[in-house]
């Protein structure tokens, strides 16, 4: 059919109602004119009309017939292709299953990755009209760092911006939820218009009123998440109007949020309270609401109708200075907006997007290998079906028709594979999540949805086109009809199909080699990172965290509580020693500051550093060596002179070549000088793969802050002591929630989840690629043997030795494999720059990895080709010649 005809048909299809009306008009006119003609011939008017109508027949049927002119061949012939293809696929069951499973692995791996990436980066937020909701981002131009807003600058932008119909602010906060079993929950402090701006209405009760976010501390109200309401309060509606205890204070529940809404983050929030309650929610940071230099709020705005992101950006940029918070800042501030999507806050999003970008490519590579594999299988099958195809062509089928039918087969298989792949991907997602010990509330949000389904179907179509087109063309080429006459199908190495098949095979080996190399690099990188000495002894340590501030302890009370905890834990028979710290190592909580030393000029004497408050004995409990000076001791009380311990990295930065003990330094924004009393050896604090990090330790008594973790060294296996430690601390204050309870080794394992998850995915993809490549080599060699039985028979009858025949076949496959390996090496080296950024402790062109991957491939390829080659060698010349 010519394109112009297709276009005419399409135009009629678009305006089919008008077209039908026109046709009806035309037919009515025809009937009327016929009736007039009848009357002219002398019939009575009634008879004339009846005769005309009778002659015309059933207008509806005629309309259908006429419509069929436009459509029917199409639908009918495609439908025929589908039914014919299905029958064929069922008949060639074994090959179909092999192809479907191969594709299912490829599509499934992509669906799993897409589920994750979509959830984190792209999926519309669970709010009303997510397309017009945007983050307000404040970036420091020089450092590129994203800056959160202070409350005054939020008020400023919210009240005066013309691009947004409303701007809401919020920040995460941990709450201690009182009751029979006190619990630590993730909550959120939100501006009064938060729910309105997001377009979320309460399931029962109401959301916040504007004035509930007015006078600080005046309105202790809360909205519960649906999950918290269901799990903790038994989905009892009477909770609305009643009080819950948060951080020891009564908050009135005004409403329950709808199911499925847990804020904009992928990690759901359990409840919301107004920003005006900030002091009660974050007792360790009182007065944040007034501070112009506070950086603690995220802001999202609802765009006014018709306002584009670019216009909103421009309108905000004009107010960049107010948003900067500190008016005297010398840094240039850049303000922009970004559509709300996915489940990560802007900072995380910026950090994670490149990682996921890289990760998403990997399953696509697996799919490419799978497609090349399937293309080869189809090519072989097309060869085996030459007689059938030739017969159909001889009977009058056009080549385009044959190609189309073969493509329909490909698409059908691809769609079935898509279904199988989705099931497989769901299993994979759950498997990865379980392996990485991702909390259930997050995995619950990783189920495949309509978006994943759509993406997978699109991918399946693309895959079908990728692997289906060239085999379909090659199987129906001009040389088809003569094959009817041939009794034997012979293959010579010059054959076009043969070359195509070699190309597919080389592609497979190339791409899967890249996959294996990348997987190998990452696995080594992770194991290198994990085998690094963290600078402390993580074995046999129980960790447990609590937050005295949230229970209303003042500085005195906190000291008494700490002392009580340490005393009773150390009294336990299984405990060797115990200590407290605000930041247990590798547990994901870090405080940062800038320190400066006495003397010298201001700039040169400054250094960024992380810091933690600890109790005396921490270094001994963690087995961190004190290399100079002393540990803290009970004499370092609140009243005593302020002291600090530095790690060797900070010491080197501040006083290179000198003994730091006895020197003094000051934390940015503080008035008091701290005297360095000791130096400890550095280690890993936030990540295994981090560069040496400056660290400052302060006595908890002199710098009380926030949550605090108990670390207790046990005499035997720490796991056996977790429960008794937990019970002992609980006995001291039954109202205080204890969280992150477990062994230190377990906590650390969680800290490297991302790395472990990444390398697991890469390793799985590498394995999949290797498997598919081996499968492909095997299939291709088998096919070559099957097609050449005749030739082999003759050669052996003429005296060729069985071994020589086998060696010939193996050499052929292995030389293709070698080309693939060479290309794969080149490709891996080409992308090593990108990979290098994610590796720790080894170069992206690590020779050993390449060597190992090559050896693995050579081994697998040899086995995959040797098996069918041996079959060739066992051909009985007589049988093979007689079978003709």
């Amino acid at each position: 059919m010519r394109p112009i005809e297709l276009w005419r048909r399409f135009r009629v299809f678009l305006r089919r109602d008008e077209w039908t009306r026109d046709l009806d008009d035309e037919m009515r006119l025809h009937t009327e004119l016929r009736a007039e003609a009848n009357r002219d011939r002398g019939m009575a008017p009634a008879d004339a009309e009846l005769a005309a109508r009778r002659r015309f027949g059933n207008p509806l049927a005629l309309r259908e017939d006429t419509r069929d002119v436009w459509t029917i061949q199409w639908v009918e012939s495609v439908w025929k292709d589908i039914t014919y293809s299905s029958r064929r696929l069922v008949r060639d069951r074994a090959a179909t299953i092999a192809i479907v499973l191969t594709l299912a692995l490829g599509i499934g791996a992509n669906a799993a990755m897409f589920t994750l990436v979509d959830r984190l980066l792209f999926k519309p937020a669970p709010v009303g009209d997510p397309d017009t909701l945007a983050w307000l981002l404040v970036t420091e131009a020089r450092s590129g760092r994203l800056r959160k807003l202070s409350y005054p600058s939020y008020r400023d932008v919210a009240s005066r911006d013309e691009a947004f119909s409303g701007v809401a602010a919020f920040t995460g906060a941990q709450f201690s939820l009182g009751g029979e079993t006190p619990e630590r929950i993730r909550g959120m402090l939100v501006s009064g218009n938060y729910f309105g701006v997001l377009g979320v209405t309460a399931r029962i009760g109401r959301t916040f009123l504007p004035d509930e976010d007015g006078a600080p501390g005046a309105h202790p109200v809360a909205v519960l998440s649906h999950a918290l309401w269901a799990n903790r309060f038994g989905a009892n509606s009477s909770i609305v109007g009643n009080a819950v205890t948060l951080n020891g204070r009564r908050f009135t529940v005004v409403g329950v949020a709808p199911a499925g809404f847990g804020g904009l983050d992928v990690e759901p929030v359990a409840l919301w309270v107004p920003l005006a309650m900030a002091d009660a929610a974050m007792p360790d940071q009182k007065g944040l609401l007034e501070r112009a230099d506070g950086q603690w709020l995220y802001a999202v705005g609802r765009l006014k109708p018709g306002v584009s992101l670019a216009r909103a950006s421009a309108s905000l940029q004009a107010k960049a200075r107010q948003l900067a918070g500190t008016p005297d800042t010398d840094d240039v501030i850049d303000v922009s907006v970004q559509r709300v999507a996915g489940g990560l806050d802007p900072e995380n999003r910026r950090d994670m997007a490149p990682v996921f970008g890289l990760l998403s490519i990997v399953p696509l590579l697996v799919l490419i290998v799978a497609c090349a594999n399937v293309a080869n299988l189809l090519l072989s099958r097309g060869l085996a079906r030459r007689k059938e195809l030739a017969l159909r062509k001889a009977l009058g089928a056009e080549r385009s028709r044959l190609v189309r039918q073969l493509l329909v087969e490909s698409i059908l298989m691809s769609l079935v594979a898509c279904g199988v792949g989705l099931v497989f991907s769901y299993g994979l997602t759950i498997g990865v999540a379980r392996l990485a010990e991702v909390p259930a509330e997050i995995t619950g949000r990783l189920t495949p949805d309509l978006r994943v389904l759509t993406a997978s179907i699109v991918l399946a179509f693309l895959a079908a086109m990728t692997f289906g087109v060239s085999p379909a063309l090659a199987s129906t080429d001009a040389a088809l009809v003569p094959s009817l006459k041939d009794t034997a199908i012979t293959i010579t190495s010059g054959d076009r199909r043969h070359r195509l098949r070699s190309a597919f095979l080389v592609t497979q080996v190339t791409v899967s080699f890249v996959l294996v190399v990348v997987a190998g690099l990452f696995l080594q990188s992770v194991s290198k990172a994990l085998s690094v000495d963290p600078g402390f002894d993580a074995r046999n340590v129980v960790v447990l965290t609590f937050d005295p501030d949230l229970q209303g302890y003042d500085a005195e009370g906190r000291q008494r509580l700490n002392a009580d905890v340490l005393r009773s834990i150390e009294a336990l028979p299984g405990i060797e020693s115990a200590a407290l710290t605000t930041s247990p190592p590798l547990a994901g909580l870090m405080y940062g500051t800038v320190v400066q030393r006495t003397g010298a000029d201001k700039e040169a004497s400054r250094s960024d550093t992380n810091f933690a408050g600890i109790s005396p004995g921490y270094f001994q409990t963690m087995r961190i060596p004190v290399v100079a000076g002393r540990d803290f001791n009970p004499g370092d009380t609140r009243a005593a002179p302020k002291v600090a311990v530095v790690n060797d990295t900070l010491a080197l930065r501040m006083w290179p070549g000198a003994n730091p003990v006895g020197r003094r330094l000051k934390m940015f924004g503080d008035d008091d000088w701290l005297e360095v009393v000791g130096v400890v050896r550095g280690g890993k604090y936030d990540e295994f793969s981090e560069e040496p990090r400056a660290f400052l330790f302060l006595p908890d008594a002199q710098a009380p802050m926030g949550r605090i973790s108990l670390v207790a060294r046990t005499m035997t296996d720490a796991a056996t002591q977790v429960e008794v430690v937990r019970r002992t601390v609980r006995g001291i204050d039954p109202d205080m929630p204890l969280f992150e309870v477990g062994t230190l080794e377990h906590t650390i394992r969680n800290a490297v989840d991302q790395e472990r998850g990444t390398s697991f995915i890469l390793a799985a993809c590498g394995g999949l690629g290797l498997f598919l490549a081996a499968f492909g080599l095997h299939a291709v060699t088998s096919q070559a043997v099957a097609l050449r039985v005749h030739e082999i028979g003759i050669r052996m009858a003429l005296g060729a030795r069985a071994n020589a025949v086998a060696v010939g076949l193996v050499r052929e496959s292995l030389s293709l494999c070698a080309i693939g390996l060479a290309l794969g090496t080149a490709l891996s080296l080409a992308i090593s720059g990108v990979i290098g950024a994610f590796l720790y402790g080894l170069a992206p062109s690590d020779v050993l990895t390449y060597l190992a991957a090559t050896l693995i491939f050579a081994g697998v390829a040899t086995i995959a080709t040797l098996v069918p080659a041996r079959r060739a060698a066992s051909v009985d010349p007589l049988t093979s010649l007689r079978s003709e």
Binding site: E5, D65, T66, W70
Partner: protein
């Protein structure tokens, strides 16, 4: 099935030719006029079935062999007037050649040149 079998029906391919030929002669006609014209020109031997006329016209429209424009009849009634296109003329010429060859061949076969 057909109660009016006193006149001859026209095979589909032939109907296309007749329509095109009629439109060459008459420039612009609506459906009823085309049917009338064929019938009268054939001396009322050929009867154009409405059931095949309109599908045939749509087929010709798809192939671009005729155009259809809406206009008014002499009695001011809305009607679609068909005109032959350049492609239609070319098609007609080719088909006529084939038709001539075939009919003369058929005639040669069928003409009794021996007396039984």
């Amino acid at each position: 099935m057909n109660p009016r079998s006193d006149r001859d029906e026209i095979p589909q391919g032939l109907l296309d030719l007749l329509i095109l030929r009629t439109l060459v002669r008459e420039k612009e006609l609506h459906g009823f006029e085309i049917a009338q014209h064929i019938e009268t020109t054939s001396g009322d031997v050929l009867q154009v079935e409405e059931g095949s006329l309109y599908p045939a016209l749509q087929r010709l429209l798809i192939k671009g062999l005729v155009n259809g424009e809406w206009g008014r009849t002499a009695e001011n009634r809305r009607a679609r007037y068909y005109r032959i296109t350049a492609a239609g003329r070319k098609h007609l010429r080719q088909e006529m050649e084939i038709y001539d060859r075939v009919t003369s061949a058929v005639a040669r076969v069928l003409t009794p040149n021996e007396v039984a």
